[in-house]
Protein backbone atom coordinates (compact mmCIF):
# COMPACT_ATOMS: atom_id res chain seq x y z
CA UNK A 1 0.00 0.00 0.00
CA UNK A 2 1.34 3.43 -0.67
CA UNK A 3 2.91 5.25 2.18
CA UNK A 4 5.37 8.05 2.82
CA UNK A 5 2.91 10.45 1.32
CA UNK A 6 3.19 14.12 0.75
CA UNK A 7 4.37 16.46 3.45
CA UNK A 8 1.70 16.54 6.09
CA UNK A 9 1.23 20.27 6.21
CA UNK A 10 2.17 23.30 4.17
CA UNK A 11 5.58 24.90 4.44
CA UNK A 12 6.73 27.73 6.64
CA UNK A 13 5.61 30.42 4.24
CA UNK A 14 2.15 28.96 4.22
CA UNK A 15 2.13 28.97 7.99
CA UNK A 16 3.03 32.63 8.09
CA UNK A 17 0.44 33.61 5.54
CA UNK A 18 -2.15 31.60 7.39
CA UNK A 19 -1.26 33.18 10.64
CA UNK A 20 -1.76 36.65 9.25
CA UNK A 21 -5.07 35.76 7.75
CA UNK A 22 -6.37 34.10 10.89
CA UNK A 23 -5.20 36.85 13.12
CA UNK A 24 -7.18 39.25 10.97
CA UNK A 25 -4.18 41.53 10.67
CA UNK A 26 -3.39 43.76 7.71
CA UNK A 27 -0.39 43.64 5.46
CA UNK A 28 1.22 46.41 7.49
CA UNK A 29 2.14 43.88 10.12
CA UNK A 30 4.06 41.55 7.86
CA UNK A 31 7.43 42.86 8.91
CA UNK A 32 6.78 41.94 12.52
CA UNK A 33 7.16 38.26 11.88
CA UNK A 34 10.66 38.69 10.61
CA UNK A 35 11.54 40.16 13.96
CA UNK A 36 10.10 37.35 16.03
CA UNK A 37 13.22 36.45 17.92
CA UNK A 38 14.60 33.09 18.79
CA UNK A 39 13.94 32.39 22.41
CA UNK A 40 14.30 29.44 24.66
CA UNK A 41 10.92 27.94 23.88
CA UNK A 42 11.63 27.76 20.20
CA UNK A 43 11.45 24.40 18.49
CA UNK A 44 14.61 23.27 16.81
CA UNK A 45 14.99 21.64 13.42
CA UNK A 46 17.49 18.80 13.53
CA UNK A 47 19.23 17.15 10.61
CA UNK A 48 16.99 14.12 10.60
CA UNK A 49 13.99 15.42 12.40
CA UNK A 50 12.67 17.97 14.82
CA UNK A 51 12.80 18.69 18.52
CA UNK A 52 9.64 19.96 20.15
CA UNK A 53 11.57 22.49 22.25
CA UNK A 54 10.48 23.36 25.77
CA UNK A 55 7.92 25.34 27.71
CA UNK A 56 4.32 25.67 26.62
CA UNK A 57 5.25 25.90 22.95
CA UNK A 58 7.16 22.66 23.35
CA UNK A 59 4.07 20.87 24.62
CA UNK A 60 1.86 22.47 22.00
CA UNK A 61 4.34 21.36 19.33
CA UNK A 62 4.23 17.87 20.81
CA UNK A 63 0.46 17.93 20.35
CA UNK A 64 0.93 19.37 16.86
CA UNK A 65 3.24 16.48 15.96
CA UNK A 66 0.71 13.89 17.14
CA UNK A 67 -2.13 15.63 15.32
CA UNK A 68 -0.06 15.71 12.13
CA UNK A 69 0.42 11.96 12.44
CA UNK A 70 -3.27 11.28 13.04
CA UNK A 71 -4.40 13.58 10.22
CA UNK A 72 -2.05 11.90 7.76
CA UNK A 73 -3.23 8.46 8.87
CA UNK A 74 -6.94 9.15 8.41
CA UNK A 75 -6.29 10.99 5.15
CA UNK A 76 -4.77 7.77 3.84
CA UNK A 77 -7.62 5.68 5.29
CA UNK A 78 -10.17 7.70 3.35
CA UNK A 79 -8.06 7.83 0.17
CA UNK A 80 -7.76 4.03 0.13
CA UNK A 81 -10.66 2.62 2.16
CA UNK A 82 -10.24 -0.92 3.48
CA UNK A 83 -12.16 -3.67 1.76
CA UNK A 84 -15.68 -4.14 3.07
CA UNK A 85 -15.90 -0.70 4.67
CA UNK A 86 -19.53 0.09 5.47
CA UNK A 87 -21.18 3.39 4.66
CA UNK A 88 -21.48 4.30 8.30
CA UNK A 89 -17.87 3.39 9.04
CA UNK A 90 -16.70 5.51 6.14
CA UNK A 91 -18.81 8.44 7.32
CA UNK A 92 -17.46 8.20 10.86
CA UNK A 93 -13.84 7.77 9.76
CA UNK A 94 -14.21 10.74 7.40
CA UNK A 95 -15.47 12.87 10.27
CA UNK A 96 -12.54 11.79 12.43
CA UNK A 97 -10.19 12.66 9.57
CA UNK A 98 -11.74 16.12 9.41
CA UNK A 99 -11.34 16.63 13.17
CA UNK A 100 -7.69 15.61 13.04
CA UNK A 101 -6.98 17.86 10.07
CA UNK A 102 -8.58 20.74 11.93
CA UNK A 103 -6.54 20.01 15.06
CA UNK A 104 -3.41 20.04 12.90
CA UNK A 105 -4.36 23.25 11.12
CA UNK A 106 -5.31 24.87 14.41
CA UNK A 107 -1.93 24.19 16.01
CA UNK A 108 -0.15 25.34 12.88
CA UNK A 109 -2.08 28.61 12.82
CA UNK A 110 -1.88 29.22 16.55
CA UNK A 111 1.82 28.42 16.86
CA UNK A 112 2.75 30.44 13.78
CA UNK A 113 6.52 30.71 13.46
CA UNK A 114 6.95 28.77 16.69
CA UNK A 115 5.59 25.64 15.01
CA UNK A 116 7.75 22.67 14.15
CA UNK A 117 7.92 21.85 10.47
CA UNK A 118 5.56 19.55 8.62
CA UNK A 119 6.35 15.92 9.35
CA UNK A 120 6.52 13.16 6.77
CA UNK A 121 4.73 9.99 7.86
CA UNK A 122 5.80 6.41 7.25
CA UNK A 123 2.87 4.04 7.21
CA UNK A 124 4.70 1.17 5.54
CA UNK A 125 3.79 -1.07 8.49
CA UNK A 126 0.05 -0.57 8.00
CA UNK A 127 -1.97 -2.59 5.48
CA UNK A 128 -4.59 -0.04 4.50
CA UNK A 129 -6.64 -2.67 2.66
CA UNK A 130 -7.38 -4.55 5.87
CA UNK A 131 -10.14 -3.48 8.24
CA UNK A 132 -8.42 -5.21 11.13
CA UNK A 133 -5.13 -3.46 10.42
CA UNK A 134 -6.66 -0.02 9.91
CA UNK A 135 -8.93 -0.08 12.94
CA UNK A 136 -6.12 -1.58 15.01
CA UNK A 137 -3.83 1.29 14.03
CA UNK A 138 -6.61 3.83 14.59
CA UNK A 139 -7.19 2.45 18.09
CA UNK A 140 -3.48 2.64 18.82
CA UNK A 141 -3.25 6.24 17.59
CA UNK A 142 -6.33 7.42 19.47
CA UNK A 143 -5.52 5.72 22.74
CA UNK A 144 -1.94 6.97 22.48
CA UNK A 145 -3.19 10.49 21.81
CA UNK A 146 -5.42 10.50 24.87
CA UNK A 147 -2.65 9.16 27.08
CA UNK A 148 -0.20 11.68 25.63
CA UNK A 149 -2.40 14.69 26.34
CA UNK A 150 -3.29 13.42 29.81
CA UNK A 151 0.36 12.72 30.56
CA UNK A 152 1.65 16.10 29.38
CA UNK A 153 -1.10 18.38 30.67
CA UNK A 154 0.81 19.18 33.84
CA UNK A 155 3.68 20.58 31.77
CA UNK A 156 1.48 23.36 30.38
CA UNK A 157 1.72 26.48 32.50
CA UNK A 158 -0.68 28.80 30.67
CA UNK A 159 -4.25 28.03 31.85
CA UNK A 160 -5.75 29.00 28.48
CA UNK A 161 -3.51 26.58 26.61
CA UNK A 162 -4.36 23.87 29.10
CA UNK A 163 -8.06 24.43 28.46
CA UNK A 164 -7.48 24.15 24.73
CA UNK A 165 -5.61 20.89 25.20
CA UNK A 166 -8.59 19.72 27.27
CA UNK A 167 -10.98 20.65 24.48
CA UNK A 168 -9.06 18.42 22.10
CA UNK A 169 -8.25 15.45 24.32
CA UNK A 170 -11.88 14.67 25.09
CA UNK A 171 -12.61 14.55 21.36
CA UNK A 172 -9.71 12.13 20.95
CA UNK A 173 -11.24 10.03 23.73
CA UNK A 174 -14.57 10.08 21.89
CA UNK A 175 -12.76 8.84 18.78
CA UNK A 176 -10.97 6.15 20.76
CA UNK A 177 -14.21 4.87 22.28
CA UNK A 178 -15.87 4.67 18.87
CA UNK A 179 -12.97 2.86 17.20
CA UNK A 180 -12.75 0.40 20.09
CA UNK A 181 -16.48 -0.32 19.88
CA UNK A 182 -16.17 -0.90 16.12
CA UNK A 183 -13.50 -3.49 16.84
CA UNK A 184 -15.23 -5.03 19.84
CA UNK A 185 -18.57 -3.78 21.18
CA UNK A 186 -18.32 -2.76 24.83
CA UNK A 187 -14.56 -2.17 24.78
CA UNK A 188 -14.83 1.65 24.78
CA UNK A 189 -13.13 1.87 28.18
CA UNK A 190 -11.27 -1.44 28.18
CA UNK A 191 -8.95 -2.55 30.94
CA UNK A 192 -5.91 -2.00 28.69
CA UNK A 193 -6.55 1.76 28.74
CA UNK A 194 -8.65 2.44 31.83
CA UNK A 195 -7.51 1.27 35.26
CA UNK A 196 -9.94 -1.32 36.63
CA UNK A 197 -9.55 -0.21 40.26
CA UNK A 198 -9.96 3.57 40.10
CA UNK A 199 -11.29 3.94 36.53
CA UNK A 200 -8.67 6.53 35.55
CA UNK A 201 -7.52 6.62 31.94
CA UNK A 202 -3.88 5.68 31.62
CA UNK A 203 -1.54 8.60 31.02
CA UNK A 204 1.86 8.39 29.37
CA UNK A 205 4.95 10.57 29.50
CA UNK A 206 6.41 12.21 26.42
CA UNK A 207 9.49 10.00 26.42
CA UNK A 208 7.31 6.92 26.20
CA UNK A 209 4.89 8.30 23.60
CA UNK A 210 7.34 9.60 21.00
CA UNK A 211 9.22 6.34 20.37
CA UNK A 212 5.87 4.80 19.40
CA UNK A 213 4.83 7.77 17.28
CA UNK A 214 8.21 7.78 15.57
CA UNK A 215 7.69 4.27 14.25
CA UNK A 216 5.10 5.88 11.96
CA UNK A 217 7.16 8.95 11.09
CA UNK A 218 9.94 9.43 8.56
CA UNK A 219 10.68 12.78 10.19
CA UNK A 220 11.67 11.74 13.71
CA UNK A 221 10.44 13.82 16.62
CA UNK A 222 12.65 14.34 19.66
CA UNK A 223 11.97 15.91 23.04
CA UNK A 224 15.46 16.53 24.35
CA UNK A 225 14.14 18.62 27.25
CA UNK A 226 11.89 15.76 28.34
CA UNK A 227 14.38 12.91 28.27
CA UNK A 228 13.97 11.60 24.76
CA UNK A 229 16.13 11.97 21.68
CA UNK A 230 15.10 9.99 18.61
Amino acid sequence: MKTETQEIAGGVNMARRSFLRYAGMGAASVGLLATAACHKDHAITLNNGVDIGSGDYGILNYAYALEQLEAAFYTQVILTPYSGISTSEKTLLTEIRDHEILHREFFKAALGTNAIKALTPDFSKIDFSSRTAVLGAAKAFEDLGVQAYDGAGYLISNPDYLTIAGKIVSVEARHAALIRNLISPGSFAGSDVVDTTNSLNNSTEIKAVLPIANTYLKTKVSASNYGYIA
Partner: protein, 287 residues
Amino acid sequence: MNLFNIIDEIEKVDPEVYGRLSDRRNVIKNITSFGTKVAAAALPFAVGSMFQKAYGQTAAKPTVLEILNYALTLEYLESYFYNQGSAKGTALIPAAAATNYFNQVTKDENNHVAFLTTVIKSLNGTPATVPTFDLTAGNGSGNGPFKDVLTNYQTFLAVAQAFEDTGVRAYKGQAQYLTGESNRVVLTAALSIHAVEARHASAIRQIRGLTPWITSTTALGNDTGIPQVNGNYDGEQNVIQGGVDVTKLKSASGSTTSVATATAAFDEPLSMDQVYKLLLGSFIVQK
Protein backbone atom coordinates in the same frame (compact mmCIF):
# COMPACT_ATOMS: atom_id res chain seq x y z
CA MET B 1 -10.28 45.19 10.84
CA ASN B 2 -7.23 44.76 12.98
CA LEU B 3 -6.44 44.53 16.65
CA PHE B 4 -6.06 48.27 17.08
CA ASN B 5 -9.35 48.98 15.39
CA ILE B 6 -10.94 46.43 17.69
CA ILE B 7 -9.53 48.12 20.75
CA ASP B 8 -10.58 51.52 19.43
CA GLU B 9 -14.08 50.22 18.91
CA ILE B 10 -14.18 48.80 22.40
CA GLU B 11 -12.94 52.09 23.75
CA LYS B 12 -16.02 53.82 22.34
CA VAL B 13 -18.27 51.74 24.58
CA ASP B 14 -15.76 51.05 27.32
CA PRO B 15 -13.35 53.94 27.91
CA GLU B 16 -11.60 51.79 30.47
CA VAL B 17 -10.42 49.23 27.95
CA TYR B 18 -6.77 50.23 28.16
CA GLY B 19 -7.03 50.17 31.91
CA ARG B 20 -8.52 46.69 31.84
CA LEU B 21 -5.71 45.53 29.62
CA SER B 22 -3.38 47.23 32.14
CA ASP B 23 0.10 45.76 31.93
CA ARG B 24 -0.81 44.17 28.69
CA ARG B 25 -0.90 47.67 27.25
CA ASN B 26 2.84 47.52 26.88
CA VAL B 27 2.46 44.37 24.86
CA ILE B 28 0.09 46.16 22.55
CA LYS B 29 2.46 49.07 22.16
CA ASN B 30 5.29 46.72 21.45
CA ILE B 31 3.38 45.07 18.68
CA THR B 32 3.36 48.37 16.83
CA SER B 33 7.08 48.92 17.00
CA PHE B 34 9.44 47.11 14.71
CA GLY B 35 12.49 45.54 16.15
CA THR B 36 10.90 44.38 19.39
CA LYS B 37 11.21 40.84 20.51
CA VAL B 38 7.51 40.26 20.93
CA ALA B 39 6.65 36.74 19.96
CA ALA B 40 4.21 38.03 17.38
CA ALA B 41 3.79 34.57 15.98
CA ALA B 42 1.91 33.57 19.09
CA LEU B 43 -0.54 36.39 18.60
CA PRO B 44 -3.75 34.43 18.10
CA PHE B 45 -3.24 32.81 21.49
CA ALA B 46 -2.01 36.02 23.07
CA VAL B 47 -4.88 38.18 21.89
CA GLY B 48 -7.44 35.64 22.99
CA SER B 49 -6.14 35.45 26.51
CA MET B 50 -5.58 39.20 26.69
CA PHE B 51 -9.27 39.92 26.25
CA GLN B 52 -10.31 36.95 28.31
CA LYS B 53 -8.25 38.21 31.21
CA ALA B 54 -9.57 41.74 30.78
CA TYR B 55 -13.23 40.81 30.50
CA GLY B 56 -13.43 37.24 31.79
CA GLN B 57 -15.08 36.17 34.99
CA THR B 58 -13.28 37.53 37.96
CA ALA B 59 -14.63 34.88 40.31
CA ALA B 60 -12.08 33.71 42.81
CA LYS B 61 -9.99 30.75 41.80
CA PRO B 62 -11.35 27.65 43.55
CA THR B 63 -9.07 25.68 45.84
CA VAL B 64 -7.97 22.18 44.93
CA LEU B 65 -10.29 20.75 47.60
CA GLU B 66 -13.22 22.76 46.26
CA ILE B 67 -12.54 21.38 42.79
CA LEU B 68 -12.26 17.83 44.10
CA ASN B 69 -15.49 18.10 46.06
CA TYR B 70 -17.23 19.57 43.05
CA ALA B 71 -16.01 16.60 40.99
CA LEU B 72 -17.12 14.24 43.77
CA THR B 73 -20.60 15.77 43.79
CA LEU B 74 -20.93 15.20 40.05
CA GLU B 75 -19.72 11.63 40.44
CA TYR B 76 -22.23 11.08 43.27
CA LEU B 77 -24.98 12.09 40.85
CA GLU B 78 -23.72 9.87 38.05
CA SER B 79 -23.14 6.84 40.24
CA TYR B 80 -26.56 7.25 41.91
CA PHE B 81 -28.17 7.47 38.49
CA TYR B 82 -26.50 4.34 37.11
CA ASN B 83 -26.96 2.37 40.33
CA GLN B 84 -30.67 3.20 40.35
CA GLY B 85 -30.96 2.25 36.70
CA SER B 86 -28.98 -0.97 37.09
CA ALA B 87 -31.16 -1.96 40.05
CA LYS B 88 -34.14 -2.02 37.69
CA GLY B 89 -32.45 -4.77 35.70
CA THR B 90 -33.88 -5.80 32.36
CA ALA B 91 -37.15 -4.07 33.21
CA LEU B 92 -35.27 -0.89 32.26
CA ILE B 93 -32.00 -1.82 30.56
CA PRO B 94 -31.84 -4.46 27.80
CA ALA B 95 -29.38 -7.23 28.67
CA ALA B 96 -27.11 -6.50 25.71
CA ALA B 97 -26.86 -2.82 26.65
CA ALA B 98 -25.99 -3.76 30.21
CA THR B 99 -23.19 -5.99 28.96
CA ASN B 100 -21.87 -3.59 26.35
CA TYR B 101 -22.30 -0.33 28.16
CA PHE B 102 -23.98 0.08 31.51
CA ASN B 103 -22.02 -2.43 33.58
CA GLN B 104 -18.77 -0.72 32.64
CA VAL B 105 -20.06 2.80 33.19
CA THR B 106 -21.69 2.00 36.50
CA LYS B 107 -18.45 0.49 37.75
CA ASP B 108 -16.42 3.46 36.52
CA GLU B 109 -18.61 6.06 38.24
CA ASN B 110 -18.58 4.13 41.51
CA ASN B 111 -14.80 3.87 41.22
CA HIS B 112 -14.56 7.62 40.63
CA VAL B 113 -16.54 8.28 43.81
CA ALA B 114 -14.24 6.02 45.81
CA PHE B 115 -11.12 7.47 44.23
CA LEU B 116 -12.05 11.11 44.78
CA THR B 117 -13.11 10.40 48.35
CA THR B 118 -9.71 8.86 49.02
CA VAL B 119 -7.86 11.75 47.40
CA ILE B 120 -9.81 14.35 49.38
CA LYS B 121 -9.11 12.53 52.64
CA SER B 122 -5.44 12.18 51.75
CA LEU B 123 -5.29 15.97 51.43
CA ASN B 124 -6.85 16.29 54.89
CA GLY B 125 -10.09 17.48 53.35
CA THR B 126 -13.65 16.48 54.17
CA PRO B 127 -15.52 14.76 51.35
CA ALA B 128 -18.74 16.56 50.41
CA THR B 129 -21.90 14.96 51.72
CA VAL B 130 -24.12 13.15 49.26
CA PRO B 131 -26.88 15.52 48.10
CA THR B 132 -30.49 14.45 47.70
CA PHE B 133 -31.09 13.71 44.05
CA ASP B 134 -34.17 13.77 41.88
CA LEU B 135 -33.41 11.94 38.64
CA THR B 136 -36.54 13.40 37.04
CA ALA B 137 -34.98 16.88 37.41
CA GLY B 138 -37.96 17.86 39.53
CA ASN B 139 -36.15 19.25 42.60
CA GLY B 140 -37.54 16.52 44.84
CA SER B 141 -41.04 16.38 43.37
CA GLY B 142 -40.24 13.23 41.39
CA ASN B 143 -42.32 14.82 38.70
CA GLY B 144 -39.76 16.71 36.65
CA PRO B 145 -39.32 16.76 32.86
CA PHE B 146 -37.74 13.30 32.95
CA LYS B 147 -40.34 11.69 35.20
CA ASP B 148 -40.15 8.28 33.47
CA VAL B 149 -36.35 8.20 33.69
CA LEU B 150 -36.31 4.90 35.59
CA THR B 151 -39.12 3.22 33.66
CA ASN B 152 -38.56 4.36 30.07
CA TYR B 153 -35.27 3.22 28.58
CA GLN B 154 -35.18 6.04 26.03
CA THR B 155 -35.51 8.66 28.77
CA PHE B 156 -32.86 6.88 30.81
CA LEU B 157 -30.49 7.00 27.80
CA ALA B 158 -31.22 10.67 27.20
CA VAL B 159 -30.42 11.60 30.78
CA ALA B 160 -27.31 9.41 30.75
CA GLN B 161 -26.05 11.21 27.69
CA ALA B 162 -26.66 14.63 29.16
CA PHE B 163 -24.84 13.63 32.35
CA GLU B 164 -21.82 12.28 30.49
CA ASP B 165 -21.45 15.18 28.06
CA THR B 166 -21.92 17.61 30.95
CA GLY B 167 -19.39 15.74 33.05
CA VAL B 168 -16.80 16.09 30.31
CA ARG B 169 -17.46 19.81 30.15
CA ALA B 170 -17.36 20.22 33.92
CA TYR B 171 -13.95 18.56 34.36
CA LYS B 172 -12.60 20.53 31.42
CA GLY B 173 -13.65 23.78 33.07
CA GLN B 174 -11.53 23.11 36.15
CA ALA B 175 -8.24 22.10 34.49
CA GLN B 176 -7.19 25.74 34.18
CA TYR B 177 -7.10 26.05 37.98
CA LEU B 178 -4.75 23.09 38.38
CA THR B 179 -1.61 24.29 36.63
CA GLY B 180 1.80 24.07 38.23
CA GLU B 181 4.00 21.32 39.58
CA SER B 182 2.25 21.26 42.96
CA ASN B 183 -1.00 20.27 41.24
CA ARG B 184 0.56 17.70 38.95
CA VAL B 185 -1.01 14.64 40.55
CA VAL B 186 -4.48 16.14 40.91
CA LEU B 187 -4.47 17.59 37.39
CA THR B 188 -3.36 14.33 35.82
CA ALA B 189 -6.02 12.43 37.75
CA ALA B 190 -8.69 14.95 36.76
CA LEU B 191 -7.65 14.76 33.10
CA SER B 192 -7.73 10.98 33.34
CA ILE B 193 -11.29 10.97 34.70
CA HIS B 194 -12.20 13.58 32.08
CA ALA B 195 -11.03 11.19 29.34
CA VAL B 196 -13.05 8.32 30.80
CA GLU B 197 -16.18 10.48 30.90
CA ALA B 198 -15.56 11.32 27.25
CA ARG B 199 -15.30 7.61 26.45
CA HIS B 200 -18.64 7.08 28.18
CA ALA B 201 -20.19 10.04 26.36
CA SER B 202 -19.02 8.68 23.03
CA ALA B 203 -20.38 5.21 23.76
CA ILE B 204 -23.80 6.36 24.91
CA ARG B 205 -24.13 8.67 21.95
CA GLN B 206 -23.42 5.63 19.75
CA ILE B 207 -26.25 3.76 21.49
CA ARG B 208 -28.56 6.70 20.85
CA GLY B 209 -27.60 6.77 17.16
CA LEU B 210 -25.88 10.16 17.37
CA THR B 211 -22.38 11.09 16.34
CA PRO B 212 -20.01 10.13 19.19
CA TRP B 213 -18.93 13.78 19.28
CA ILE B 214 -21.07 16.88 19.80
CA THR B 215 -21.98 18.26 16.38
CA SER B 216 -23.42 21.74 16.87
CA THR B 217 -24.85 24.34 14.53
CA THR B 218 -24.12 28.05 14.62
CA ALA B 219 -27.43 28.63 16.41
CA LEU B 220 -27.49 25.70 18.82
CA GLY B 221 -24.88 23.80 20.79
CA ASN B 222 -27.30 21.01 21.69
CA ASP B 223 -27.38 18.19 19.13
CA THR B 224 -29.31 15.67 21.24
CA GLY B 225 -32.82 16.52 20.14
CA ILE B 226 -33.80 17.05 23.77
CA PRO B 227 -34.60 20.75 24.26
CA GLN B 228 -34.71 20.41 28.07
CA VAL B 229 -30.92 20.07 28.07
CA ASN B 230 -30.12 23.03 25.82
CA GLY B 231 -28.31 24.64 28.74
CA ASN B 232 -26.04 21.62 29.17
CA TYR B 233 -24.77 22.10 25.63
CA ASP B 234 -24.78 25.87 25.42
CA GLY B 235 -21.38 27.10 24.26
CA GLU B 236 -20.59 23.97 22.27
CA GLN B 237 -21.33 26.03 19.16
CA ASN B 238 -18.14 28.03 19.73
CA VAL B 239 -15.74 28.08 16.78
CA ILE B 240 -13.08 30.47 18.13
CA GLN B 241 -10.15 28.61 19.67
CA GLY B 242 -7.23 30.51 21.19
CA GLY B 243 -8.18 33.57 19.17
CA VAL B 244 -8.38 31.60 15.92
CA ASP B 245 -11.67 31.24 14.03
CA VAL B 246 -11.22 27.59 13.10
CA THR B 247 -13.92 27.69 10.40
CA LYS B 248 -11.44 29.81 8.43
CA LEU B 249 -8.83 27.05 8.50
CA LYS B 250 -8.43 24.72 5.55
CA SER B 251 -10.02 21.29 5.49
CA ALA B 252 -9.81 18.17 3.33
CA SER B 253 -12.39 19.63 1.01
CA GLY B 254 -11.37 23.27 0.71
CA SER B 255 -10.02 26.45 2.20
CA THR B 256 -12.54 26.59 5.05
CA THR B 257 -13.97 24.19 7.63
CA SER B 258 -17.66 23.52 8.27
CA VAL B 259 -19.31 24.55 11.52
CA ALA B 260 -20.18 20.87 12.08
CA THR B 261 -16.52 19.85 11.98
CA ALA B 262 -15.35 22.95 13.84
CA THR B 263 -17.72 22.35 16.76
CA ALA B 264 -17.27 18.58 16.85
CA ALA B 265 -13.47 18.77 16.89
CA PHE B 266 -13.40 20.81 20.11
CA ASP B 267 -15.38 20.11 23.27
CA GLU B 268 -16.13 23.20 25.34
CA PRO B 269 -15.80 23.74 29.10
CA LEU B 270 -18.47 24.69 31.62
CA SER B 271 -17.68 26.68 34.75
CA MET B 272 -18.56 25.46 38.22
CA ASP B 273 -21.25 28.14 38.41
CA GLN B 274 -22.79 27.06 35.13
CA VAL B 275 -22.90 23.42 36.17
CA TYR B 276 -24.42 24.14 39.57
CA LYS B 277 -27.06 26.33 37.92
CA LEU B 278 -27.94 23.41 35.66
CA LEU B 279 -28.19 20.90 38.50
CA LEU B 280 -29.30 22.72 41.63
CA GLY B 281 -33.05 22.89 41.95
CA SER B 282 -33.54 20.18 39.35
CA PHE B 283 -31.39 17.03 39.62
CA ILE B 284 -29.90 18.13 42.93
CA VAL B 285 -32.66 18.92 45.39
CA GLN B 286 -32.50 22.43 46.80
CA LYS B 287 -34.84 23.34 49.59
